[in-house]
Symmetry: C2
Subunit: 554 residues, 2 copies
């Protein structure tokens, strides 16, 4: 399939429940505020881009951006909520998954980034349950197929109405010659622990499985007849509410991000992106707090989403997504920080001291998710520690998430970096380890050492294994320039595959399995003529012609 540069309007990721097109965020009276209900009611003609009506509650990126926003709002703005219901506003259909025509029209790069974003959103749903006491139930009031069923199995509990026709299904492989790539295959065998032979059969039955058999196979948790369906949903939701370990805190409303965008990049309050399109590089700068920051959870609640620890990381999240979707030719990102290390370390001290507070915990989890977004971004990140930089504590995580850290060995103006208690496990990567643990897999004693020591000047940081290269004043400019030029000259695909292999040493988890094993295979399949060629199944979906396959097994 020909790769074309995208000529569309840039994708924007900010939204608000008042502006949702496809979802309704409800707080049904019967649960007295303890339940948020997300109702998917997709407007066919309001796709993010023209050309593909979103029939049968199928989704595109715009739908998922709203969903991700809703999860965030439920967590911060509705602390009274103790469980989430995901359901559909349409009769007899829950969701038919990602829109096939949208996929067929998309570039390879867009498909891959779309799947990555939707995967992240579903993992956030699971993280809400695991980390924030917000379990979820999928109320399948109709068929959930493909990405629809994948959304269901990201929930803790699944109820499928047994009405003689509603089913769950993965028609991707049999009908489209691609995979259920939003975690579906992995969650079948690794989360729901469905027997591999049944998972194999299920994933090849285009029409899916319904009623009693869907329960027997472990695909759903209960499949009551229509007359009892509402009662079962209520009973199971009430059980989730009763089991919730959500902590009480005062709600924090998320204000809009203020950003000035231009052809040269974007400036947020604490984050800037400066693009050099010709060099295929960008500079991502994150600034330390400059004024008073909250020193207690109460002050944090009062400061709201303008607190640095919230705003800077929301801005970073937005900037990373902008880089992924809207700047495909940027290959290498310089990661810089500025400001007072003491200001960051003071924020970290507050976060560490009050880590058991409900709101502090939510903020820390938000920061964790943003840092994971960086781990999963297919750009080369080279962090640059120079005089005036501020790689301390949570901002040091940016350097630890980067592929390399260059630190200037500067005689006149010393450079330093510093750890804080927040580097000790508050921000685990997808592999379940902290970035320090992952870095020092071969020398685990060093993790405690660098957490106890510091700040580190260049020589000490190099000795401690925190720094990749430390050119001196004379060499710095040339060495950095050459490093960026060389990296930007390498094949983007090889760099993506290389970074995906080197960033995640150590254990694999459901999450890393989804992003590596499943997504890597899906990306491969998204290149194969059997799916995306002129006669491929994805290309010909909905057309009268039958796909033609090359029968060679690879």
């Amino acid at each position: 399939m020909a790769e074309t540069n995208q000529t569309h309007e840039p994708v924007r990721f900010e939204t608000h429940p008042d502006r949702y097109v496809h979802w309704r965020l409800e707080f049904p009276a019967e649960y007295a505020g303890a339940v948020a209900r997300l109702v998917m009611d997709i407007k066919e003609e309001r796709g993010l881009r023209p050309g593909y009506p979103l029939k049968l509650n199928s989704y595109d990126l715009g739908v998922d951006i709203e969903l991700a926003d809703a999860f965030q709002r439920i967590r911060f703005e509705h602390p009274e909520v103790k469980a989430v219901i995901v359901t559909s506003g349409k009769d007899r259909i829950f969701c038919s998954g990602a829109n096939i025509y949208m996929l067929g029209m998309s570039t390879h790069g867009f498909k891959v980034n779309f799947c990555k974003f939707t995967n992240e959103t579903r993992l956030y749903l699971e993280e809400m349950s695991a980390e924030s006491g917000l379990p979820s139930l999928c109320a399948l009031n109709g068929t959930g197929s493909g990405g629809g069923y994948e959304l269901a199995i990201a929930c803790d509990d699944i109820v499928l109405v047994d009405d003689g026709s509603s089913a769950v299904s993965f028609p991707e492989a049999p009908l489209l010659a691609v995979l259920p790539g939003t975690g579906g295959l992995t969650r079948l065998v690794d989360k729901r622990k469905i027997r591999r032979d049944l998972a194999d059969a299920f994933s090849t039955i285009a029409e899916g499985v319904r009623g009693k058999r869907s329960v027997e196979w472990g695909l759903v948790d209960e499949s009551p007849p229509k007359a009892k369906y509402e009662d079962v949903v209520k009973r199971r939701t009430a059980a989730l509410v009763a089991g919730s370990k959500r902590k009480a805190f005062s709600k924090m409303a998320f204000g809009p991000l203020e950003v000035k965008r231009s052809a040269k990049g974007a400036d947020y309050k604490y984050v800037s992106i400066a693009l050099d399109e010709k060099a295929r590089t960008a500079t991502l700068t994150v600034r330390a707090p400059s004024g008073m920051e909250p020193t207690t959870p109460e002050e944090l609640g009062k400061a709201g989403s303008s607190a640095w620890c919230v705003q800077a990381f929301r801005e970073l999240d937005d900037a990373l997504l902008d880089l992924r979707f809207n700047q495909p030719t940027i290959g290498v990102v310089a990661v810089k920080t500025t400001g007072e290390p003491a200001a960051v370390l003071a924020v970290d001290a507050m976060l560490a001291k009050y880590k058991d507070d409900g709101l502090v915990r939510e903020v820390t989890l938000l920061m964790k998710r943003v840092l994971k977004r960086m781990d999963m971004t297919a750009k080369s990140f080279f962090a640059l520690a120079e005089p005036g930089s501020c790689f301390a504590g949570t901002l040091l995580e940016l350097a630890l998430a980067a592929d390399r850290l260059y630190m200037k060995d500067s005689g006149d103006e010393p450079v330093s970096i510093a750890t804080s208690p927040m580097n000790g496990g508050a921000f685990p990567m997808g592999n379940g380890l902290s970035r320090l643990q992952t870095r020092f897999l071969g020398a685990p004693d060093r993790v405690a050492q660098v957490l106890e020591q510091g700040p580190f000047d260049t020589a000490a940081a190099l000795k401690a294994g925190l720094v990749t290269f430390a050119p001196d004043d004379l060499d710095w400019d040339d060495e950095i320039r050459i490093a960026f030029e060389e990296r930007a000259a390498m094949s983007p695909d090889a760099m993506t595959g290389m970074e995906a292999s080197l960033r995640f040493a150590g254990p694999e988890t459901l999450e890393t399995k989804i992003f590596a094993r499943l997504s890597a295979w899906q990306n491969w399949i998204f290149q194969r003529p059997n799916a995306v060629g002129e006669r491929g199944a994805l290309t010909l979906y909905g057309k009268p012609e039958r796909p033609e396959f090359n029968w060679n097994r690879t």
Copy 2:
């Protein structure tokens, strides 16, 4: 890149040290028989196929087939050996990796299968060390680049001569726009636990790293100057010999496999392959032993490689490789067994009773490797248990390795399957679990239950969760026919990606990471125009033109 059906002669996998072209298997006098030395001395003009001289000790599949054979021979035919040295017979070059021109000329499917086989061979080298007390040392008497260094890091210990020019390197990404895909990236961070930022730098420095820095970065274990190189190799090899836990046993020589091949398939003594090219299916039949089999390790030693447990599994290994390389259009394989279950269970009883014997252990490990070869074969396997079939003990593993097991619910002629102690962990999969444990990840109690019970008739097997579908006499023929037709009609690529995701539930290991994360990304890259397009780096290697890249990051 256009996919073409291969028109080459079939690849054959049997060889013998007497016929090695590229390797010398030596037993140097200075180690008094305790060391096998494998000397790579590749004959440029003797590539497996014409068109690519194997310069600079670069390898193709033929070279690796000899290496795999050598490992097998060392294990079975040289029980006195306690350590292995891998080195080169050429001056100043150890090995420059897989031959680039060979890769450039190969179909996508061949590239993928070639990499899979070479990955298996390197994992066998590690298994020799971990399971058989046969540690290995790579004596880099010259540069090891790409697959050359990947072979080195599959060894336990690496000595690199410090002669001012010899280096280790991964030039794949910077020069060829592909990955070091034979486990290289994974082993850097997960086996040698090299810091990810140093691994990143190393993997982009085409000229590599040598001498002191190669030791500092953890790339090699020692890098002595030329004058001390031989002494260091001897000292470190002696240490490996001294630490070896190899068990003593009488050697078992591997005789040639006898096989009748035709356009319709192949018949070995215990294994048959029957091809139906039009239907894109094959039937793989494994027969139980029919005569007297050894009941003690001594008898096993006397019987030699004609003992069923050795011969049947060597035949199965050969048949699986034949299916992979020579039958690319076969998509679905029916797995059948015939013979007396009691005969297999008697063999299993011997293997279980004498599991601590050196030879019995080697045989069991061989069987394990063959079963893993099946797990890793990109064909759909449907096992068929019918009257007269023999899915008992070790042969039941074939059904557990299959994607589905169909068992006939036959009124007149009952069908049964049976477990043996050998299903209890003697044959772990790449994920470290037994096939029963992987199958019952969601119901771990069942593992012990099915090991204690049995034999199982169809109803009992279905209830125990061992069977996918159990059609009765009336439905059997139609249901099986339709199942095979449907499977064979699906996109081969989608099936490969699906099976790779469903077969390996549970933990990930170095091995599964290599085959899933790393190989899946490499397979993706092997499809990308930046590598294999007309202007791709792999295509243009050695030509005056510079590659042209699409700069979009995916």
